[in-house]
């Protein structure tokens, strides 16, 4: 299968505050410790906007922003493309989107006269982070928002890869999920917030963190688990974190085959090399 270069990675989760700070943990040189995440995230949003948006939007945009900032090339305006500053397409993968907003709407619907907030309603769509991202960056490129429940990371990676190959263009994959509030939390357990962004380039540039090859066939093998107990807890406890074995392989800068959870009895094989 056609290779894809990973040009940059963005990451935000407890104990994984950004790619540079997380590489030692992901490479197995330091154990994972679930430290709190930084208070300020998604600084690409104007300050007044940042106060209005939810934790979900900020988390997704933080990972996206970090990956784009790392790849200084990709932030350069692409002359003559007529599509704003960024020429990067996006795929946003999330199991459940913004549960905080959905909870508020469902609560409002139980009250007299059903005072659904117009802001909450427009923030309830699954593509809300994609909308804020395109507004903040001026990027008019195509964007897809998808869900495959616990297999959302693998589905997002497949779509991002297909999009990169089809359009011969850079694609930023952003996978994110947050714990829902009570009472939804009783029926959907997500143990901690997690967001990761991978900037993928179908041109196998030398300026890369890793080269990926997706295997389109069914693997039949179980998904990789992680040796570090903290990382494994995250992986199993957040759909977006199902991509952690891939991030660990990238951080190790070694050649290996990764098997990612892709849904009930389905996995996705990815060959990773430096």
């Amino acid at each position: 299968m056609n290779p894809l270069a990973v040009e940059a990675v963005g990451l935000m989760a407890p104990g994984l505050a950004g790619w540079p700070a997380s590489q030692a943990v992901l490479a197995g040189q330091r154990p994972h410790a679930a430290e709190p995440m930084p208070a300020t995230m998604a600084t690409l949003l104007p300050a007044n906007e940042r106060r209005r948006v939810t934790a979900t939007i900020k988390l997704a945009l933080q990972a996206a922003q970090e990956a784009m900032a790392q790849a200084a090339l990709a932030l350069d305006p692409s002359p003559g493309n007529g599509r704003g500053e960024l020429s990067v397409r996006t795929v946003f993968a999330s199991s459940g989107g913004d549960s905080e907003i959905l909870d508020k709407i469902c609560v409002a619907l139980t009250q007299p006269d059903r005072p659904v907030s117009p802001t909450h309603f427009h923030q309830s769509v699954h593509n809300t982070p994609a909308g804020y991202w395109s507004i903040a960056t001026g990027c008019m490129q195509p964007s897809l928002s998808l869900s495959a429940y616990d297999g959302s990371f693998a589905a997002g990676l497949r779509e991002a890869a297909a999009l990169a190959w089809a359009d011969q263009a850079r694609v930023l994959l952003i996978a994110y999920d947050l714990p829902p509030p009570f009472p939804l939390a009783e029926r959907r357990q997500i143990i901690a917030p997690f967001a990761a962004a991978l900037l993928l380039n179908p041109a196998t540039t030398a300026n890369r963190l890793a080269l990926l090859r997706l295997d389109p066939g069914a693997s039949g093998q179980p998904a990789d688990r992680l040796d570090d107990a903290g990382l494994e807890r995250l992986r199993a406890g957040n759909p977006a974190a199902r991509g952690l074995p891939l991030l660990c392989a990238i951080a190790r800068r070694a050649t290996r085959r990764v098997i990612l959870f892709a849904g009930t009895s389905a996995t996705l094989r990815v060959a990773v090399e430096p």
């Binding site: 459940g96 909308g131 190959w165 939804l184 029926r187 959907r188």
Partner: protein, 398 residues
């Protein structure tokens, strides 16, 4: 070079016009709207809706019973029409169950189940009732998971949720996934069902009309919410294929505002241009445009600018929202299949309910049905967050 086209090997629609393609086609021909005054649950809103009859009486049973909710009932009802299941079974024999992808658009999936559960919270603990199954109802993926299981498919599957462009983008995803070799054929579709979230949400935004919606009318004042399920089985077109083909798709982001369309329709124009470019078709070759045409004052004005910019005033276009209402995440597939039917029938549908075209708008909006040979037609779908998708469909002349 033009992209390799996909053929629509089978398709089906269920919406306020009835179950199956024949019901939609008959209503399009007769000019009969599916819109009725809103009597959904206890919504008590002064608006009209496009409701699918009979969903309350037909729960899901057996192995797929955990998926039971209005949205998945609608999906099942849709899958049962027009021999769609049988066509997919034949494709499964040809391609293998793991080589047919499933890409289903939805905006709210089965959130109605959560709405109901929140009304039944335990008065002491606040917990949701024990019967509530989040994964199989409310979660965005639920409807794609249900569709995949109902059809017995095991390959790549995901739900696309980009508001009102969702199921148009399903066609684009299918093309890419097939092109990338991740699957050899695809079931695409869209399912969105009536729920209080969308009815009260659009009401809060002041976007719903108290009358049947009137796209492009000088007096248009908002949209009507509808519900629908639509599916299509896509495979690579053969040489001299005389089926309806997906010749091009175009996607863009407005990068402008979360709910308001770009006033000049810049993103919409870009999506249409991309669809034409992928198909290597010139604007003048397009015989008909099915507009997104929600009938809100600003949306129609923005789309009008975009159509004028790309096509000028001559290309016949219409909005079919007056028949079905705005079926949100299902609008893309509903209208793509309408376009496919129109290509087969050489029919340009009018714009139902619209009486006086807004003199400030200039696109070639057709009010009455017209019969004329059609070869190429475009379908537009735009959504909140500034997400745009246009599909170019075509058929060889007989």
């Amino acid at each position: 070079m033009a992209i390799k086209p996909l053929a629509i090997a089978a398709c089906t629609l269920t919406n306020a016009l009835g179950r199956g393609l024949a019901a939609s086609l008959r209503a399009l021909r007769e000019g009969e709207s599916g819109l009725r005054p809103c009597d959904f649950e206890d919504a008590e809103l002064n608006t009209w809706i496009g409701q699918v009859a009979g969903l309350d009486q037909e729960p899901l049973r057996g192995e797929l019973a955990p998926f039971d909710c209005r949205n998945n009932r609608l999906a099942r009802l849709g899958l049962e029409q027009d021999g769609f299941g049988a066509a997919v079974r034949q494709a499964r024999d040809r391609y293998g169950a793991d080589r047919i992808g499933v890409f289903i658009g939805t905006s709210t999936s089965g959130i109605g189940a959560t709405e109901h559960a929140y009304r039944q919270r335990d008065p002491i603990t606040g917990s949701l009732p024990a019967t509530f199954d989040y994964q199989h109802t409310h979660n965005v993926f639920s409807v794609a998971d249900f569709t995949r299981r109902w059809l017995g498919l095991t390959g790549v599957a995901f739900a696309i949720s980009t508001a009102c462009s969702s199921s148009a983008k399903a066609f684009a995803s299918a093309w890419r996934q097939m092109r990338g070799g991740l699957c050899d054929a695809a079931v695409v579709g869209g399912v969105d069902s009536l729920c209080l979230t969308t009815l009260h949400g659009f009401n809060a935004l002041g976007l719903i009309s108290a009358r049947p919606c009137r796209p492009w009318d000088v007096d248009r004042d908002g949209l009507n919410i509808g519900e629908a399920a639509g599916f299509a089985l896509l495979e690579w077109a053969k040489p001299n294929d005389d089926r309806v083909l997906l010749l091009g798709y175009g996607e863009s982001s407005d990068a402008y505002h979360m709910t308001a369309a770009h006033p000049e329709g810049a993103g919409a124009a870009l999506a249409m241009q991309e669809a034409l470019a992928r198909a290597e078709i010139l604007p003048a070759q397009v015989d008909y445009i099915n507009l997104h045409g929600t009938a809100t004052p600003l949306n129609d004005a923005a789309e009008d600018r975009a159509v004028l910019r790309v096509f000028g005033p001559a290309t016949p276009c219409s909005s079919t929202k007056g028949w079905t209402g705005h079926t949100l995440g299902a609008a893309g597939v509903t209208e793509a299949v309408f376009v496919a039917l129109c290509l087969e029938q050489d029919l340009i549908p009018g714009t139902l309910n619209t009486r006086r075209r807004d003199p400030r708008l200039g696109a070639g909006v057709v009010l009455e049905n017209r019969e004329r040979p059609l070869r190429l037609a475009l379908s537009n779908s735009f959504g909140f967050g500034g997400t745009n998708c246009s599909l170019l469909l075509g058929r060889r002349r007989r």
